[in-house]
C-alpha cells in the first residue's frame, strides 16, 4: 500500500527493515511483526509500564509511540538484556528476592530498573521507588522489587570495583 513508510530499527543489536503504516504502534511492531514478546501490553495509555523498553538510551513506553517515530533508533527490550547463558544481574536478583509473581510486569520492570541503575548506580530506596513509579505491578506490592533492585545494584557495583 502506498501509505506505508520505510522503517529501520535496530532491535537488541539486530538491524530490521520493513514497510509499515505510519499509525502502527511500536509495541505492535515488536510483538506482532518481529516476535519480540517480552514487552507486554497492560494499558495502551502509558500508565502501566508493561511495555517499557530502552530507546536510544532512554526508558520509553512503546504502547504510545508510533513505529515511525522510532525509525532509525536503537531499541533494547528484556530479550536484549540477558539470556540463559549471560543473565543480567537484575534478572538473577528478581528471582533471588522474589521480585515477581505472575511475571507480566517483569520484563518492563527489569528493563526500566536497568536504565535506572545506569543513571544512578547507588539509588536510595526513595530514589528506587520514585524511579520505578512509572511501572505498575499488581502482584508483588513492590517491596521485593525494591529489594531486588537494591541487591542488583550492590552486585553490579562490586563487579565494577573488582574490574577496576
Amino acid at each position: 500500500m502506498s501509505n506505508k513508510m520505510h522503517i529501520k530499527l535496530n532491535v537488541n543489536g539486530k538491524d530490521e527493515e520493513f514497510l509499515a503504516e505510519p499509525r502502527e504502534l511500536l509495541i505492535y511492531t515488536l510483538r506482532e511483526r518481529l516476535n519480540i514478546t517480552g514487552p507486554h501490553i497492560g494499558c495502551e495509555t502509558s500508565h502501566c509500564g508493561a511495555c517499557t523498553m530502552t530507546i536510544d538510551g532512554k526508558s520509553v513506553k512503546a504502547c504510545t509511540m508510533f513505529v515511525a517515530q522510532a525509525s532509525g533508533k536503537s531499541v533494547t527490550t528484556i530479550e536484549g538484556l540477558g539470556g540463559p547463558d549471560d543473565l543480567h544481574p537484575l534478572q538473577s536478583a528478581f528471582k533471588e528476592h522474589h521480585g515477581l509473581q505472575c511475571g507480566y510486569c517483569t520484563p518492563g520492570m527489569i528493563t526500566r530498573a536497568a536504565k535506572l541503575l545506569e543513571e544512578n548506580p547507588n539509588p536510595s530506596e526513595e530514589e528506587i521507588r520514585f524511579g520505578m513509579a512509572g511501572n505498575i505491578c499488581r502482584c508483588t506490592g513492590y517491596q521485593n522489587i525494591v529489594k531486588s533492585i537494591q541487591a542488583a545494584a550492590t552486585e553490579m557495583n562490586a563487579a565494577k570495583e573488582a574490574a577496576e
Binding site: E21, H40, E79, L100, Q101, R138, C139, G141
Partner: protein
Amino acid sequence: MKDEVTSREDRVANLKGMGCSRKRVEDARFTQGKGNYVDDIKLDGMLFGDFVRSPYAHARIKSIDTAAALEVPGVLAVLTADDLRPLGLHWMPTLAGDKQMVLADGKVLFQGQEVAFVVAEDRYAAADGIELVEVDYEELPVIVDPFEALQSDVVLREDLVAEDGSIPDGAHGPRKHHNHIFTWEAGDKAPTEEVIANAEVVAEESMYYHRTHPCPLETCGCVASMDKVNGKLTLWGTFQAPHAIRTVVSLISGIEEHNIRVISPDIGGGFGNKVGAYPGYVCSVVASIVTGKPVKWIEDRMDNLMTTAFARDYHMTGKISATKDGKITGLHCHVTADHGGFDACADPTKFPAGFMNICTGSYDIPTAFLEVDGVYTNKAPGGVSYRCSFRVTEAVYFIERMIEVLAIKLDMDAAELRRINFIKKEQFPYTAALGWEYDSGDYHTAWDKALKAVDYEGLRAEQAQRVEDFKAGKTRKLMGIGLSFFTEIVGAGPVKNCDILGLGMFDSCEIRIHPTGSAIARLGTISQGQGHATTFAQILASEIGLPADSITIEEGDTDTAPYGLGTYGSRSTPVAGAATAMAGRKIRAKAQMIAAYLLEVHDNDVEFDVDRFVVKGAPEKFKTMKEIAFAAYNQAIPGIEPGLEAVSYYDPPNMTYPFGAYVCVMDIDVDTGVTEIRRFYALDDCGTRINPMIIEGQVHGGLTEALAVALGQEIAYDDMGNVKTGTLMDFFLPTAWEVPNYETDFTVTPSPHHPIGAKGVGESPHVGGVPCFSNAVQDAFRPFGNTHTNMPHDHWRIWRTANELGLHD
C-alpha cells in the same frame, strides 16, 4: 546411585520440601521475557476479533448496519445477535443462574455492552471496521442506583417479566419487583431482632462498599481454533478455571467435551477477574467456526475496566447489640447488592451472595441474621470476589466496621472489645450463628502478639498526645491506628455445599513417577502468579521423598490435567494441595510394598524416612525412593502392577479458616487529605507454611491491593450510566511510590482436617487489609466525633471529612 547425600540433614535439605523458601522455578522464563501469555500465542492465518460496544447505558437498538464495515480491507466478518440467534448462542447462561446476552439482543443494558463482533486480519483492520458499524439507538431511562431500581417503573429485564406483567421466580426464589433478582437469608430473624430490641447497647451503621475492579495487569483474552477436519476445538485463554470453561463451552456449543481442549497458558494475574465466562470467548469460538481460522480476542484496558467482572457494590446496613461491658449479643445485617444488567456473579450455586454469611467474623456472636437483596441496574454485570473467597471481603469489612462503631458507642478501646468477644481457642471447631463450622483458630495469641509487636499502648499514648498538639495548633497532622482481625473462609469447597453450575468443587492431582526417580504431577488448578510449580512440588517432595527439583508441575491443559475446579478463592492449597498430598500418599503406599519386597521383609517392617524406606531397627537396610522408582519399572513383583502412578480427587470435608491480626499506623494531613502509612504490621496464620518466601510475597501483594481499594480505587458511574473510571488515569492502581514497606509475622494453627494442615493465604491480606486501612483513616477522626465514612478514602474525601468535622477553621 551416584551423588547420594547421606546425612539426614542433607537429605532433608536436598528435598526442598515443605517449610523451605525454595526459589521459584517459574522465574527463569518470566525474567527473560519468555513467558507464554495468551497474547503471545500466534497461529497460522490467525484473525483478530474486537467488539463494537454500546455508548449508552440503556437503549433500544433499532438497527445495525454492518455493510460499510465489511468493505474495510482486512475485515472478514461482522457478527451480531442475528447471526448468533440461529445457533442459540445470542444469550448464554451465567454462573449465577441468570442468562446474559452474548451480543446485544434488541437493547443494551450497560455502557460498553458488546453489540457486534468484528473479525479482521489484524487489530488495525478490526478497529477500522468497528468505526464503520452503524448502530441506531433509542435512548431509554437509565437507572444506576439500586434503591431507585427497586422503586422504578422502568423494567430493565423485559425478558424476565411475564406477558401479563407478573414476575416469575428467579433462580434463587421469588422476586419482589421487576428489577429485583433474589432475596437471600441466613440465620434466625425473629430471635435476632428480639435480642437487639432488648439489648443494653445497640450500635447501628450504614456503609457502602463501593464498586471496584480486580484489574490484573494482563487483561482477559482468548484464542479459539476450530479444526473442522478433526472436529476439535482448542481454546487458549486467561481462564482461572479451565475445566469449568470446557464444560460450559461444551454445554452451550453442543461440541462434545472430549473434542474440546482448553488451555490456560501463563496468566498475568487474575484476582477473580478471570473466573467468569465472557461474550468474547463465545464470539471467538463462533468466529473460528464461521471463518475456519483461529481467532484471537484480547481486551484493552478500557474494555476490561468497563465490562468484565467488577467487584463489591454492596450497600450494607448493620445493627450490633452488646451488654454494657461489651459482650456482643446479636448482629443484624441487610445488604442491597447491585449486580448490574445481568446476574453474572461468580458464586457457588447455593450462595447467591457468596459467603457473606461469614459476617459474624472472628467473634462469638450467639444470634445473627443476614438478608441480601440482589438488584438489577444499568451497570456492567459479572460481580466477582476480588482477591477473596466469595464476598468474605465485604463480610469482614462489615463486621470490622461494626466493631469499631460499637466501641465508639461503648466508649471502649476497640482492641479490647475485640479481645473480649473473640471465639476462644477451646471453642473450635466452632459453629457460627450463620452456619459455618470454623475448623481451628487461636485468636487471642495472635492478637496479643500483634499488639505487643507494635507497642499498642505506646501508640495510643502517642495518638492522644497528637490530638492535644492538634488542638493546641502545634500540628496539622492527625494520627490513626487501624486495627483489624479477620477470619477467612477458603478452600471452596466441600462438594456437599459448594458447586459452580452443578460441578462440585473438589480438586485433583495426578502423579507419574519416572523410572529414574523424577516425576510429573498435573493438577486441576492453574497458577496466575501464586507459584504453584514451585510449591506443589514442595508438598510432593515431602510426601514422596523425591527432590522438588526433580518434579515438574503442570496445570491448565484439559487434555492432560485431571478435572478440577480451578484457582480462585484461595482454594488451590486447601483443595488441590490436599489432593497432591493424598496422591503422594498413594504413591508412598505402593512404594512401601516395593521396598518391602526388595528388602525381603514384611510391609509393616519398613518405615518412611525423608527419602527412603528403612527396615525398622536396622537403619543400614533401606531402599531410596529413587531405587524404588526404578524397581517399579524393572522388577516383576508378585501381586504388584508395574509403574508408579496415582491420582486423587479430593473433596474436602470442610472449608479452612485462616486468620490474621493487622495494625496500620497512619498520619493524615487534615489540610490536604493526604495519608501517609507510617507502619503496617501483618500477622497471618495460614496453618502449615509451605514456602515462607511465597507467603510473604502474597501478603505484600494482597495488602497493596487492599490499600488501593481502601484509599482510592473505585469504578464510578454518572447519572447517565457513563463509566467515569475507564482508564488507569482515573482508576487508581498504586505504584511503588504510594506503597509502604510491610512487616510480616505469623502464628501457625494447622487445619485439623487438611492432610498437611495448610489453610491457604493469598487472599487473607486483602480481606484483612481493607478494613485495616479504612479503620486507620476513621480512627484518626474518632476524637472529633466521626463514627463512619465510606471508602475509598481518597484525599478529597478525607479533606471533606475534616471539613465537615470543623477541623479547617
